[in-house]
């Protein structure tokens, strides 16, 4: 018998026993936080998964399959036009960083083998913030203003930070890699117009399925809202046609799916989710049974779902337990939150961006956490500051960045990110209350 191993087991038992012995069941705050965690999870499941997340996964999958990433990489290579490369680097995160784990290798590559420090930093900053899934979920859960502010802020500030880094360290000799960059080969792709229309259709489905008229909405908005399922259906029909004519999907499969979806929609007009679900299932079956691009599309969408859903599920549970739903308290008293990051003072914004810079957020979990914080009294300015500094930086990725850039540049980069996030928080918070 290995005594060390047995003692380890004993220690685990003891820890579990003590945990159960002092389990705070019965304390109102603890009991309440469990209820809040479950309530928040239920709310997400009902409101966001079917109509928002699933179409978003399909869009993310389509980006990684249908968009020619090699053509984007050309603008970030060693021979690229410097001015152009800044612009491309700041927005290319949408296309290149659909999976957050590719951000750091790309950043290192652009710095050492490609367009250089400035564009690399611009890419590093905006990449994690402007991937489609992040923007869609931010806009849906936290509101359109924050969603747009996040995307615009990330792009603008990435250019500013990139330029500043370029001017501060421009004179230093770059330790370039000897290796020649291996550019992914150009794949033959469909005409740009087709790809554009295809994405416009997917985004149309996403937008109109989630369309909601506010209370003070104008008449146009209202009528759009009542007809939203017809518009969504129109986009779905367009998608069906594209599948048949451009992707060479068998027509009968598409017609069968459209038929079932339309029937369900007409039979149960009160629960449009039923028809939507039928459409999604049909689309999955169609793409799974058609070799080539359609199946690749499904595979990569499914890959995103597998990667992100478990993280998001845990993130929502934890955020619910700690912070509760808006208007309800979780484990952390709302008073603490509103004292630390309430209002729109410089200090609140600075605190939010500093905390965001060091904290690690698993992909997309920043959204439920921020929702909780906002509900507990966080100001909108500090919320944006956290959104800008948060996903772009974390302690673990600072360490990797340090390996690539060295200590001095990394410190300057972190300081710039925190400063810029603070400033944009203050500005945003002054205009949106």
């Amino acid at each position: 018998m290995d005594i060390k191993k047995e003692i380890k087991v004993l220690l685990v038992f003891a820890a579990v026993f003590l945990g159960c012995f002092y389990l705070p069941v019965g304390l109102p705050r603890f009991d309440n936080s469990i209820v809040e965690a479950l309530q928040l999870t239920k709310w997400y499941a009902r409101q966001h998964v079917l109509l928002c997340l699933i179409p978003a996964f399909f869009i993310a999958g389509a980006i990684s399959v249908f968009i020619n990433q090699a053509s984007v990489m050309r603008y970030l290579g060693p021979k690229a036009n410097k001015v152009l490369s800044f612009g491309v680097a700041s927005v290319s995160g949408t296309v290149l960083a659909v999976c957050s784990c590719t951000v750091l290798p790309l950043f290192g590559g652009i710095y050492r083998m490609g367009a250089g420090l400035g564009p690399a930093v611009a890419f590093l900053y905006s990449g994690p913030a402007i991937n489609v899934l992040a923007i869609i979920l931010t806009a849906r859960v936290l509101g359109l203003e924050l969603g747009i502010a996040r995307a615009v802020g990330a792009i603008l500030f990435s250019i500013i930070i990139g330029l500043l880094m370029h001017f501060i360290f421009g004179k230093e000799e770059q330790r370039r890699c000897d290796a020649q960059p291996v550019m992914p080969e150009q794949e033959t792709s469909r005409p740009l117009l087709q790809t554009g229309l295809y994405f416009a259709t997917l985004i149309g489905i996403l937008v109109f399925a989630n369309w909601q008229a506010g209370h003070e909405a104008s008449d146009v908005w209202r009528s759009l809202s009542s007809g939203k399922w017809f518009i969504t259906g129109g986009f779905a029909l367009a998608l069906a046609a594209m599948l048949v004519f451009w992707m060479r999907v068998r027509a009968w499969k598409v017609v069968a799916t459209a038929g079932v979806t339309a029937l369900l929609g007409l039979a149960f007009p009160e629960t449009p989710m039923l028809a939507f679900a039928a459409g999604v299932v049909g689309l999955s079956i169609i793409t799974a049974t058609t070799k080539g691009e359609p199946r690749d599309w499904l595979n990569s969408s499914w890959g995103f779902a597998k990667q992100i859903l478990p993280l998001l599920f845990v993130g929502v549970l934890v955020a619910g337990a700690l912070l509760g739903r808006p208007g309800h308290e979780g484990l952390i008293p709302s008073r603490w939150v509103s004292t630390a990051v309430g209002g729109n003072s410089l200090l609140a914004n600075f605190f939010a961006s500093l905390a965001g810079a060091f904290m690690y957020f698993a992909t997309l979990t920043e959204v439920p956490i921020l929702q909780g914080l906002l509900g507990a009294g966080m100001g909108k300015g500090p919320a944006l500051a956290l959104l800008l500094a948060g996903p772009a930086l974390s302690l673990p990725n600072m360490l990797v960045i340090r390996q690539i850039l060295g200590t001095k540049k990394t410190v300057v980069y972190v300081l710039l990110v925190v400063a810029m996030a603070t400033v944009s928080g203050v500005v945003f918070g002054t205009f949106f209350k």
Binding site: C99, C101, V182
Partner: protein, 77 residues
């Protein structure tokens, strides 16, 4: 003896590529050893910007995408 190297920081796509490479080598019945390179500096020494990437005997064959088993088989034979 083929040396298969999978370059990537450990995301699901890299794992998928490693699985596919292993399956391809087994189907062909060639002797192989597989190495996963997760250190970002070593990945860059290969000149790879887009992960996941596959190198055979030290030469980068594909980057930025997950090759299918069939594609890897045609690379190996």
């Amino acid at each position: 003896m083929k040396r298969l190297q999978i370059l990537g920081t450990g995301c699901p796509k890299c794992k998928k590529l490693a699985e596919n490479a292993e399956a391809a080598a087994k189907e062909l019945g060639v002797e192989y050893e597989i190495e996963k390179i997760t250190d970002i500096k070593r990945i860059m020494e290969f000149g790879v910007m887009m992960t996941p990437a596959l190198a055979v005997d030290g030469e980068v064959k594909a980057s930025g995408k997950v090759l299918s088993v069939e594609q890897i088989k045609s690379l190996l034979s």
